[in-house]
Amino acid sequence: MKSLINHSLKFILLTLFLLTAITAKAQNARLNFEKLNGLENKALDVVEVNIDGKLLDLAKRVMVKVNDPDAKKVGQAISGLKAIYVRVFNFENDNEYNIADIDEIRSQLQSPGWERLANVRSKRNNQKIDVFTMFNGDVMSGVAVVVSESKSIAVINVIGPIDIDLLAEMSGKFNIPRIEIEKDNDNSTKPKN
């Protein structure tokens, strides 16, 4: 009887460990954007998009409804998508942000699992672009794009498989509105072009 209890406890612990491990594995393509929070006050424009869970399912259902070949292509490219998190900060002046903040994001991408797909460095605008991918076996589990320039930062974290080539090809073909971000205290209603 005593051994039975011991075996039961071992089984419970093993089950909990496995469940925790599975949960951790599913989330490890997620980047932590906490360091970028402080930039909101400094930035002229901020774009923050978080799409996951039910919201993403809802959007996918809409993609199916749209009777447009481009939308169908996009729908196909994002069929396995689990989440997209986007942060874009535009600044008024050069070097208004702390480079350590964006380097912290890049350091997260040095962890095991992430593989560098592309690395662009340009002295023009002090531009640095990094594209990383993460694979679980043969299946893509995440993409991260980090773009830093003199006056702007953009971090994109895609979780789940996505067709990068198709998405790059579809650039400019999305039927989305041009947006403009305004500061909290700005009550101006004039559109800026």
């Binding site: 009887m1 039975l4 209890i5 419970i12 089950t15 909990l16 469940l19 949960t23 954007f33 929070n37 901020v46 774009v47 923050e48 998009v49 978080n50 799409i51 996951d52 869970g53 039910k54 919201l55 993403l56 809802l58 959007a59 809409v62 993609m63 409804k65 749209v66 009777n67 447009d68 994002i78 997209i84 998190y85 986007v86 592309a118 662009v120 340009s122 672009i129 594209v131 794009v145 773009v147 953009a154 994109i156 895609v158 998405l167 790059a168 579809m170 650039s171 400019g172 073909k173 999305f174 039927n175 989305i176 509105p177 041009r178 947006i179 403009e180 971000i181 305004e182 559109p191 072009n193």
Partner: protein, 204 residues
């Protein structure tokens, strides 16, 4: 029976003497006291079978609750973002826009004559940023490369979509647009298209 013998053993009393002889073997004999054992074992009551069964049942119940709890946690954590949909608030830009729908509608899904509403605050679903407020204003109604057929399609779509669906679609398109533009930028850089374009521009 002489009672003197019984009390002070004076004289003789054969009856009492016979009794003494018979019971003499049970009398106290002065010998060494018994030795204590080297180790004293405390009394331990063996747990009953009921306790084992109770422990086993409790362990099984714990396992079931742990699995159920994990399942519920995963479910609600994935539902969290959908719950924030209702927290999109229309800004009081002017009297008319205050009555606008609370959810942003893509411009290509909107009638041009309509005033553009403003999303004032969007509570995000990020785990790391509990409350973020982003103000997004649609500046220019843009219908870039749409044909009449596409316009009619989107108008039909507009009629069919709920506010939540429009919001979700809009957010996804925004995210995909930013993602695709950055990926395109990288692709062009890697393929050297930017340099070529710059070269041709300079050549002109």
């Amino acid at each position: 029976m002489k009672e003197d013998y019984l009390w002070d053993k004076t004289g003789t009393d054969p009856e009492i003497e016979s009794l003494e002889n018979a019971l003499g073997k049970f009398c106290y004999q002065k010998t060494a006291p018994p030795l204590l054992p080297a180790k004293v074992f405390p009394f331990r009551k063996e747990p009953s079978r009921k306790i084992y069964l109770f422990a086993l049942t409790a362990a099984a119940a714990c396992l079931v609750f742990a699995v159920l709890g994990l399942g519920l946690w995963l479910k609600f954590s994935s539902n969290h973002s959908a719950g924030n949909l209702a927290e999109v608030v229309a800004a009081p830009n002017d009297a008319a826009s205050a009555n606008e729908p609370m959810v942003e509608i893509p411009n290509d899904l909107r009638d041009k004559s309509q005033k553009v509403p403003v999303i004032k605050k969007v509570k995000t679903s990020s785990k790391f940023t509990e409350e973020k407020f982003v103000r997004i204003r649609q500046a220019v109604p843009v219908i870039h490369y749409q044909t009449k057929a596409q316009n009619s399609t989107t108008t039909d779509l507009n009629a069919r979509l709920t506010k939540e669906e429009r919001y979700a679609y809009d957010q996804l398109m925004l995210a995909l647009s930013i993602t695709s533009s950055k990926l395109k930028l990288v692709k062009d850089k890697v393929e050297g298209k930017t340099e070529q374009t710059a070269f041709f521009k300079n050549a002109r």
